[in-house]
Symmetry: C2
Subunit: 338 residues, 2 copies
């Protein structure tokens, strides 16, 4: 079967991407020799590259009812670039597949592309290639390519050692709290302040990849790094497994995002459910204890706080310690809830 | 929203890909320094890279009723690698997103991955990264990265000049004829031989990217190249537009794939509808007239025929000339039918 190609819409998309600075026009980086429009894009990467693929799907990662096309585009690009942030990479190019459902009109497609382009342009990323097809539901997959002078400049998940400190950038829980509000619009009412509402929904709808922080942490001696997407427990477990270590996290040391305490109270939930809920796209990083102060100082000029929330030990598995001395082995949100 | 991660299934997928030789284990090419399992894969590309993204979606590119998971995987990988073939690239790495619908059980997921892996391994491609999420319908997107010593080694769509010959590899029409049979299982019956049936369905379900031919044609002086996916008319138009030339194709010189004549007769269709129907994943190539014999000789040892089917002229647009002197401007299948 052959999908009916929408050549006119594709031409408009290219024009919009180029206008947003996320195209591959004259001011695209020297690395890109041929952008969208041929069978493949041509680049001359230089050193080492980090490549990741990520998808954002209606009904799974968002609902159109509360996530307009522009936000879908922003989130799809941000979650892919977050993986590059976790490598400490300099983001370079993105390649996008857009599966367009019958209900999404051309204007909606262009709005989605504007969202993709805005996040890409802010990160200095060129959208160097793409594919538009019909699809039963809205879905976007983004392949992002990042760069570094040499392979060793990237931070993997596998370098953590017993004795290292475990830190997190920014604050957690906002995305899960925002999801709670978006999925339960009747929740709270006057109990939840406008500030809490806006902050949490923005964390869910418009995550910001920690690209600059990732590169600075790589330079500051990060030994292992991962972005918090699946959930604090699950992502810590990925890092622990890859490094062959155990991780202990003191949940009360985890900084909570704006609005989380308020929304948790209104929803009758524990703040730590939200803190461990995932999708905050902050960076979880293992650092040598002796390098902690320096790393925090390096992040200060870009306005990204770094909090020590736990430690790497010998062994296997992740323990999320709750206040009051309780502790439970867990793999994420779902287990914390049970 | 956070998709529920299926860590166990992902581990099994990695094992299967590695076993098929499409993983990133010990025998993966030197270029890949870190495969699937971290936030991103790490490669050290060397020269120039060509990157393409392609998607294969239930109800748009196939129907599960006639396309088992293994075939979905094969076709998804083949169509992405075909873009690299059209660049004359050496295929290197692939990154795959798999959107898994509720009806596809873990065994089906693994069968699909076996299909991806078989085509990747045959082309010397490592599946260096992936993403598995839930999705309302089955969808696969594949980003493929190919390599060449230098940027100029890739063949673009834009180099054709008036006076060049237009050639096609292999034979056309099989994929469209196969689609006709798969969509109309009652068609023909005894009128269509088993040989025609099998050959045509295989062209639709299991396209073979012309990777080796693409590289040989690049070395033989191909000036512009594209793969035949959208349809002969539409793809010729892409090439004509990119090169700023006109193209004339004599449809009666287009080699027809096995079974096309028989199936067209049974279906009461014109063979040229099928020949222009797309999805054959042959290569359409502009060559200097003086280099035609040499190019054909270079392809002979790999068993790929090269047929001269038209010519590049000054002007704009594509003319598909029909036998009997008729000629019509067109952009593909749909217009030929009208």
């Amino acid at each position: 079967m052959r999908a009916s190609p929408e050549f006119e819409l594709i031409a408009k998309i290219r024009e919009r991407l180029a206008r947003a600075g996320a195209g591959s026009g004259a001011d695209a980086p020297e690395r890109i020799r041929l952008g969208a429009g041929d069978d493949a894009a041509i680049t001359v990467p230089g050193g080492a590259t980090a490549t990741t693929i990520d998808a954002t799907v209606e009904g799974i990662h968002f609902r159109s009812g509360w996530c307009p096309p522009h936000s879908v585009g922003r989130k799809a690009m941000a979650t892919a670039l977050s993986d590059l942030a976790a490598m400490g990479a300099e983001p370079g190019e993105a390649y996008v597949w857009l599966g367009r459902p019958p209900w999404l009109d051309p204007e909606g497609v262009l709005e989605l592309c504007d969202g993709l382009a805005a996040v890409a342009a802010a990160a200095g990323v060129a959208i160097a290639g793409g594919d538009l097809t019909a699809a039963p539901e809205l879905a976007v997959s983004v392949t992002a390519v990042g760069h570094a002078p040499a392979e060793a400049d990237f931070v993997r998940r596998s370098g953590a050692e017993p004795g290292d400190a475990l830190c997190v950038t920014g604050a957690l829980g906002g995305a899960a709290a925002g999801l709670m509000l978006l999925e339960h619009p009747d929740l709270g009412g006057e109990e939840i302040s406008a500030e809490a509402d806006v902050a949490a929904c923005q964390r869910q709808l418009d995550p910001r990849p920690r690209i600059e922080a990732g590169r600075l942490l790589a330079g500051a001696g990060a030994k292992a790094m991962i972005d918090v997407s699946d959930g604090l427990g699950a992502d810590a477990e990925h890092l622990a497994e890859a490094s062959g270590v155990a991780i202990e996290i003191e949940l009360e040391r985890v900084p909570l995002a704006t609005g989380v305490a308020e929304i948790a109270a209104a929803a009758g939930r524990d703040v730590y459910e939200f803190a461990a809920g995932g999708e905050d796209y902050e960076l979880l990083v293992a650092l040598p204890r002796a390098g902690l102060e320096r790393a925090a100082a390096i992040l200060e000029p870009v306005g990204v706080p770094l909090a020590e929330i736990g430690r790497i030990t010998a062994g296997r598995g992740v323990r999320l310690r709750l206040p009051g001395g309780r502790s439970l082995p867990m793999t994420g949100y779902d287990q914390l809830r049970s």
